[in-house]
Symmetry: C2
Amino acid sequence: MSGQLPADLPRPPYWVAVLSSLRNGADPEQYAAAARRMRELAGQQPGFIAAESARTAEGFGISLSYWHDPESIAAWRDQVEHTLVREFGREHWYEALHVHIARVERSYRVEPATQASSSAR
Amino acid sequence: MSGQLPADLPRPPYWVAVLSSLRNGADPEQYAAAARRMRELAGQQPGFIAAESARTAEGFGISLSYWHDPESIAAWRDQVEHTLVREFGREHWYEALHVHIARVERSYRVEPATQASSSAR
């Protein structure tokens, strides 16, 4: 099995925007294209570190974006194209969408196939 | 499309443990059973609020557990059965596993199909 790897670990503190959502199944291709575009656009924002996402076949998904500070998250929230797509999305694509903005205090990598783990700090 | 709904929003601050991982594809049934058992066991721990998870067909997954305080997360980390399963898992089930422990400062629900959103605080 192969797939995307977890994002590299920055040194805490950093911030994470957690989006937890249930898709309604409408417009799968348009949604996928918008998600790719938002990922590309987020990557161009100041303070962006990384993004990760996963969605089940039943439509429940979690998207994470990591940022250096809360001001960067607020600026991304207010970015014009992002705002337009988000408004469209909330009207057409979701049954439910929750957002959690959190400050990461600690992070570490669990090393597979050994007993050891290494901390990012 | 139907599926699990996002967890209810507690009032901040609360904490979230973010596990971001790439499965190696081994033992899918054993892994699924262990994941269900860990979810059940976490739900019995003091300070537990809710859990959410999603994994892609390619094996990349995100698991979130929400907690009232960091002491509850530490106690869950040290819980005996959880520790044993986690050690087994890191040796057999993952290509990579990253953990982020974060304090949620703000959260809100985006209301679908309207322009309005309601904040949890």
